[in-house]
Amino acid sequence: MTADSRTMSTRLADWARLKSPWVTVFNSGACNACDIEVIACLMPIFDVERFGILAKGSPRHADILIVTGPVTLKQSTRLRRIWEQMPEPKYVIAMGACGASGGVFHDLYHVMNGVESTIPVDVWVAGCPPRPDEIINAVVTCLNLMKEDLARGGKEWRQKKTGEAPASGPDSAGVPA
């Protein structure tokens, strides 16, 4: 960690962001196996509320968007709109093989082969469907990613490192530094 140059309030805000990640699930044409596994995380056996993770209905209230399924053509416009509605700082988790490359539905005529085709993705989860504990592990990796981003002020440093095109959505300058 670099010498802590951030003010007291930003450090508090960053601590709070890591302690209460709110999640919303978007089914972009999945076989709903991933969806019931995400809901299984909220249930007593895996109970993610002990980490402060709450499932929120409206994208306005969410920090992390979990996208399940290979994005079908019809859902990609909705997925794009939902992603734009989320306030910064927002993160996207693509679920399972479908989220990565369309999985078993790769190259079908009504599918867009993975979430990366429509919105920039931060964390991928392996598995078809991934087990609930893998999903929780994905949220934790997402939180670590968020911690590093917050320390370096925004997502740009990751784009420069991996050389990918910067996210063309509303850039993260809106974050109160």
Binding site: F26, G29, A33, E37, I39, V104, L108, P129
Partner: protein
């Protein structure tokens, strides 16, 4: 209040899957309604024509996550009928066990989601917690919690070891008293009854006229169940009975599903007790002779039909999947008219829609069965499109 158009979905907390209702309401009452279900269409049938019999089974296991065993069993049963081969008795029993376990966990999942629709989260948590025991059983037997690839043309991939069977018996004991506990709880709970009784009600004639299937139809007294009408797998030898009810509303469907859970448990216990010895699969020729099969199966949500046509090659010439939820959508649209908005999630959840299977239909609006459908563009022009720059709630 003037005519108000409310788009509910495709991203909506009540719906675990993308369905879109364009509801025209007057106050709280629904005037007319249009469902658009085609968000999950992936083109599976076209892909099935390019895959041979071994590769197509994993694809069909992923048509729908909750009823994945139903799709693979229907397809595999059809192909075996086309090839005119008899699979060993033990494989039939193992398939029946997994099918009934899937029915149990699907009904428990439905009971939880229905309770969540009316905000009764405690039952949601408890039912899903007990569903984990069934998941453990399935994982021990087939290796995966949700999409279990146990089916292949000519039999079953994994055998049941005595230790698995013994573990299954202990799980079943625990599940039995949980099911009876939920039975009493649902029957005695005032809250569920207020919200479920008399909602989305239709008579036996209406159920038949609008082509409902599965627990939705059996709740209105329609006595159709493919496991008894066209016995397949091991259902002919197992003593069980079809649960029907006369309420015809969401409350009746709850009772039918609770009864079916008990029946499934009895079937699984019976199959585990007298599991015949012998091989679990049979060598199978690569190609299927030309034939036309209508393979019917009783999925947790209703009658699932695969229409398979083979033409002497190792691939299917045509596979037409008709899923149970597709048949139930007409009845939902008709029964939703002049109910309240608060009942939409309850009535829709009552048929336990599995949209990943359906992904096929838009339905007529409610006025007397005529189809007056508003597409997304009409809505965009009229309703939510104009009030903000592309940031409207979809």
């Amino acid at each position: 209040m003037p005519e108000v158009h409310i788009p509910i979905g495709p991203q909506h907390p009540a719906l675990k899957e993308p369905v879109n209702f364009k509801v025209v309401v007057d106050g709280e009452k629904i005037v007319s309604l249009d469902l658009d279900i085609s968000y999950n269409h992936r083109g599976i049938e076209k892909a099935a024509e390019k895959r041979d019999f071994i590769k197509v089974v994993p694809l069909l296991a992923r048509v729908c996550g909750i009823c994945s065993h139903s799709h693979t069993t229907t397809f595999v049963k059809g192909i075996e009928e086309a090839m005119k081969i008899e699979i060993p008795e033990r494989a039939q029993y193992i398939r029946t066990i997994i099918a009934e376990l899937e029915r149990m966990h699907s009904h428990l999942l439905w009971l939880g989601v229905a309770a969540h629709e009316i905000g009764f989260n405690t039952l949601f948590m408890w039912t899903w917690r007990d569903r984990e025991t069934i998941q453990d059983m399935l994982e021990e037997m087939t290796g995966n919690r949700v999409v279990y690839g146990i089916n292949e043309v000519g039999g079953v991939r994994r055998d049941l070891t005595p230790s698995q069977i013994q573990a299954a018996f202990n799980h079943l004991l625990k599940l039995e008293d949980r099911f009876s506990k939920y039975g009493e709880m649902v029957k005695s709970d005032q809250n569920l009854q207020i919200r479920f009784r008399g909602v989305g009600k239709f008579t036996r004639e209406e159920a038949l006229k609008y082509g409902t299937v599965g627990p939705t139809a059996r709740a209105s007294g329609v006595d159709y169940d493919i496991r008894r009408d066209e016995p397949y797998l091991a259902y002919a030898e197992v003593p069980w009975k079809v649960i029907t009810d006369t309420h015809g509303d969401v409350w009746g469907r709850t009772l039918v599903r609770l009864g079916e859970m008990h029946e499934s448990l009895k079937i699984v216990r019976y199959c585990l007790e007298n599991l015949p010895a012998g091989p679990i699969s049979v060598p199978v020729p690569k190609t299927a002779p030309p034939s036309e099969i209508l393979s019917r199966y009783e999925a947790p949500r209703g009658e699932l039909v695969h229409f398979i046509r083979t033409n002497n090659t190792d691939k299917v010439e045509r596979l037409d999947i008709r899923t149970p939820t597709m048949a139930n959508w007409t009845s939902v649209a008709v029964s939703l008219v002049n109910q309240n908005i608060a009942d939409i999630p309850v009535i829709v959840a009552a048929i336990d829609p599995c949209l990943s299977c359906t992904s096929r239909i838009t339905v007529l609006n409610g006025r007397g069965g005529k189809a007056g459908v508003m597409t997304w563009d009409d809505l965009r022009k009229r309703g939510c499109g104009k009030n903000n720059k592309g940031r409207s709630v979809s």
